[in-house]
Amino acid sequence: MEKLWLIIKREYLSRVVKKSFILTTLLTPLAIVLFMVVAGFIMNYDGAEQRNVAVIDTTGILGTDSLGLKNNKGLNFEKVSGSVDDYKTSEKYDAILELPPIKDLMSKEYEVKYYSSEGILGTGVIERIEGDIEKNIYNYKSKVFGFNKDSLNSLKTSVGLERETLKEGDEKVSSTASIIATGIGGAMGFIMYFAVFMYGMMVMKSVTEEKTNRIVEIMVSSVKPFYLMMGKILGVGLVGLTQVAIWGILIPIIGTIAMYTFGMDAQEIQESQNQMSGMEVDAKEIESKMIQVMAEIKSQNWLLIIPLFIVYFLGGYMMYSSLFAAVGSAMGDDASENSSLTLPISLPVIIAFYIMFAVVQNPNSSLATWSSMVPFFSPIVMPARLAFGPPWWEIALSVAILIASVIFFIWLSGRIYRVGILMYGKKVTFKELGKWLFYKE
């Protein structure tokens, strides 16, 4: 046991002190947040310069005192009188926005002209101007037709589908809750998929390396091959837990900092929502939605989800990494042969990933239930379902099957591994691996 501990310690320490590990661990959250900020920035990019826009409003819908157009996105609107030609040569204005008279109040089409020597405006800018004008026309028309604005607003009803329970004891889930659960589930499934692949491959690579640089023969003259394999699996597993834990802490922190620094407040969210839907959404509504979301996230049973996530993380990782270790022990220098050995193990991981997508959409389907029982899929599928609160017996059964499979596959891989690491220069097929299972020690 002491030797196993020594091996775990080396496998763990030799990885976490590496510069590449420290850099990936610290930079990945930064990169993710940076990516989101940059993506957001690009989507909202509206040109750097300030442009003065002369607004010729022949309709009068933009109001007389305050202009119904917001000065933003680098555009300064100024209401002017006269015709377009008066301002075409003007030094003061870079562009002219002309609102022609509204001929037919019943028409649903209305064209506004934008005169400019520049090329096309950014879609964000166009949408904003269109949205603002639409709002003004809406107000104008409702005034002309004599509609009460409040009753008009009440025409639009937001419908939410609430799931009610049939039996006593069934859990009640709100629609927001299910959206949140989908988000959490998808994220967890994705982390699992990523972890199984990344750390499993890490184990495999390291096994093959030890074999090809021949240190393994010295190692197994001191310790049993099984301990060597377990030490590696556990050591790398701890590396994975460390990394995921650091990310789990860093990403929210950096994300929050970025949110405050780059000013993503409720006001802005509301505006962008407006643009997208072209509808008026109350800032208060957004805020209450946000509060609801936060409450929903907080109300998740994290005390259950997090330990179960760790159980599935370790279970899935151990099962797959032991298989990767077995395959790694059989590998030689031939890269194409190696990839044909990896494929059958990567395949279930990829299938599980696709099942996971279907499952977060439909967490109570029979596909979800059955794939949660298959140990090859459950480590990725079940974490994705946890936020939906699957029945406890399904969790219990799935964990039990997973643990049994972990033990079985570690045993199986151990038998292949002990033969594989000392076998050189032989072309290895799966049939051959099967034979190794029955070799005597």
């Binding site: 030799s14 030890e210 240190i215 393994v216 023969e217 010295i218 190692m219």
Partner: protein
């Protein structure tokens, strides 16, 4: 007393019998040659002795007891294909391997210091293994093999890939360890080394031991009663009946006798004739000759 006894050991892989009833013993404190052509089963046998694999049948008695979990600490094994963790620092690496052999941290630390001083490589302590030259890596490999003061040291082709200086250094270390009571098993197919270094030997071919004993005794067993005589004077053309001439050139003759005593009487007759004898020597077969002879024979028999 024997430090290691191999009793009728068998090992079968899939459809290939790697070791087929090998029996021999290694006396304590000697240098023992484990010989055999490629694929004879040497490595399989070594893996059984080092506990890497188990014998299907037969016993391995090490230091008076059957092989068990305590034994790795009593054995030092340097495989033919050397390997180290390239990214580890020298001192860390030695510490790791020493601890895996069951040494305590302070003991291992002392031993590392001792060997670093001895090989004068203290400055390399914190260098990564991959930064070392090949010769350097070999030294580290050797230190890692002997650091836990094993009772039995198994060296598989220890001189392969070494330059003459390092080979000599290695040889000196082997002698020094022997003088301290370590038993050393040298697996090789370089016969001249066996002749030079080993006291005992076993020859393995096709999974069976075909020959074993002390090197002198084995050589005597295969001797053909050949004698070389260097002389000054005129040798009679005809030889006695019981003596056969093998070769002759001026001042030198090689003869074969039927009985060892016959050589004395022949020598006596030459001296009486006033021939001046410069050299009289029995020609023993080299281990190389025995090897080729025996291995060739068994091959022919198959």
């Amino acid at each position: 007393m024997n430090i290691l006894e191999i009793n009728n050991v068998h090992k079968q892989y899939a459809n290939h019998k790697a070791v087929n009833g090998v029996t021999f013993s290694v006396p304590e404190g000697c240098i023992f040659g484990l010989l055999g052509p490629n694929g004879a089963g040497k490595t399989s046998l070594i893996r059984i002795i080092t506990g890497i694999t188990k014998a299907d049948q037969g016993d391995v008695i090490l230091d008076g007891g059957k092989l068990d979990a305590r034994h790795p600490s009593k054995i030092g094994y340097m495989p033919e294909e050397r390997g180290l963790y390239k990214k580890m620092k020298v001192a860390e690496h030695l510490m790791y391997l020493a601890r895996l052999k069951g040494m305590s941290k302070p003991d291992a630390s002392n031993a590392i210091n001792h060997w670093m001083e001895k090989f004068d490589i203290n400055t390399w302590r914190n260098k990564k293994v991959e930064e070392l030259s090949k010769g350097m890596q070999q030294k580290i490999q050797f230190i890692s093999t002997v650091i836990h003061q094993p009772r039995v040291l198994i060296l598989d082709e220890p001189f392969s890939g070494l330059d003459p200086i390092n080979a000599n250094l290695m040889k000196d270390e082997i002698y020094e360890l022997k003088s301290k009571g370590t038993s050393i098993i040298l697996s090789t197919h370089r016969m001249e080394q066996v002749e030079e270094i080993c006291e005992y030997m076993v020859l393995i071919n096709q999974g069976e031991n075909v020959l074993d004993g002390s090197v002198t005794e084995v050589k005597n067993r295969f001797k053909e009663n050949l004698f070389k005589i260097k002389y000054k004077g005129d040798l009679p053309d005809s030889l006695p009946n019981n003596i056969k001439e093998i070769s002759r050139k001026s001042g030198e003759i090689v003869i074969q006798v039927q009985d060892e005593k016959d050589s004395n009487s022949y020598l006596d007759s030459l001296i009486r004739k006033g021939i001046y004898i410069q050299l009289f020597e029995e020609i023993l077969p080299s281990v190389n000759e025995i090897f080729i002879n025996v291995v060739g024979e068994t091959k022919a028999a198959v």
